[in-house]
């Protein structure tokens, strides 16, 4: 029955988010951010070859408020994708499919990614 006059029932609009579905969609989003972030890091390293003035240019960006937010955002994105990736590997080995355990591991990924971000910030500031 592909009659176009029949409406499509609502899906994303009404479906309640679960921890497992949130972790899954953020795994994808952070994956895309990571590719973009890594590209920028590569460009940064590339600029090093063009001498100090060019390097200084991107350094100004990283020193700015926006630049710092960008870096911390990237650190979070990378941490999240790393932890979520480990979660997926464990699932692929056949463990952690019970909904309770999947939710706990999801929370570990979310909290862990924030903890790793703070840890990286502390290390970067030389506080640890």
């Amino acid at each position: 029955m592909n009659d176009s006059k029949n409406p499509l029932s609502p899906h994303l609009q009404i479906y309640r988010w679960q921890i497992s579905s949130l972790v899954s969609i953020f795994h994808r989003i952070t994956g895309i951010i990571n590719v973009m972030g890594l590209t920028i890091i590569c460009l940064w390293i590339g600029l090093l070859f063009f001498g100090e003035s060019r390097y200084g240019l991107i350094n100004i960006f990283f020193q700015s408020y926006f630049g710092k937010v960008f870096i911390m955002g990237f650190v979070w994105s990378y941490s999240f994708h790393l932890l979520s990736g480990i979660r997926h590997l464990i699932l692929d080995l056949g463990y952690g499919y019970e909904i309770k355990i999947a939710n706990i591991s999801g929370i570990i990924v979310i909290v862990g990614s924030l903890a790793l971000t703070v840890l990286m910030w502390l290390i970067g500031r030389g506080l640890i």
Partner: protein, 258 residues
Amino acid sequence: MVQFNLPQNSKILKGQYFKDKTGSQNLKMVHIYRWDPTKNENPREDTFEVDLDTCGNKVLDILNKIKNEIDTSLTFRKSCAHGVCGSCAMNVDGINTLSCMKSHKDIKGDIHIHPLPHLKVIKDLVADLSTLYRQYESIKPWLKTKKPKSENNEINQTKENRDKLDGLYECIICACCSTSCPSYWWNGEKYLGPAVLLQSYRWISDSRDEEKKERLKMVGDNLKLYRCHTIMNCTSSCPKGLNPAKAIGSIKKMLATN
């Protein structure tokens, strides 16, 4: 390309309001998705005030009460009313479930009832599941043996092998899991979906079946199987407490290790 928004003809409009006429103090607001194929209109969301003092515990009781007492045109599928037939699968309070199993006492505030997500609506809460049934047929959900066996002899199975089917054979194909899966929403024509893959795994793990290899080969396809990204909406929605995500994971593991 994936379309996240609803098409123009599927946008939900504000519907009618059915005020309570019993004068009861114990009222529940129930919002129900409506669409009438005889009218050339968009779907709408009607609101009913339902008197809970004279209503059973389950969401299906509310629907029956509305149909019997308030609006006889409300359309929904139902049959056994105790979670065996799978007819009354719908989206209640944002999660797919069987309305006959779901207690409305567990829902705080208003109740929102929609048909199963991302399907063509036939009328009100009745949606078209023919794609899913076609996919179910495609996995050949029956015992396959190489040589025809005598009809007089049963095919024996050890207790251990029989135990492997627990958690699989109980599935009633109510489609709660498949229609909760975002991957199935976006690739419903090609991806088999959790319900059908769970059934596929049920036949793969049956010790009496002799076409395990062919079954694995048939299902081990980039789109049919690997569109599962372990989102796990299926497992969290299953009204029978089964675990389709685990079954799909087991098929993937079998394919990787065989």
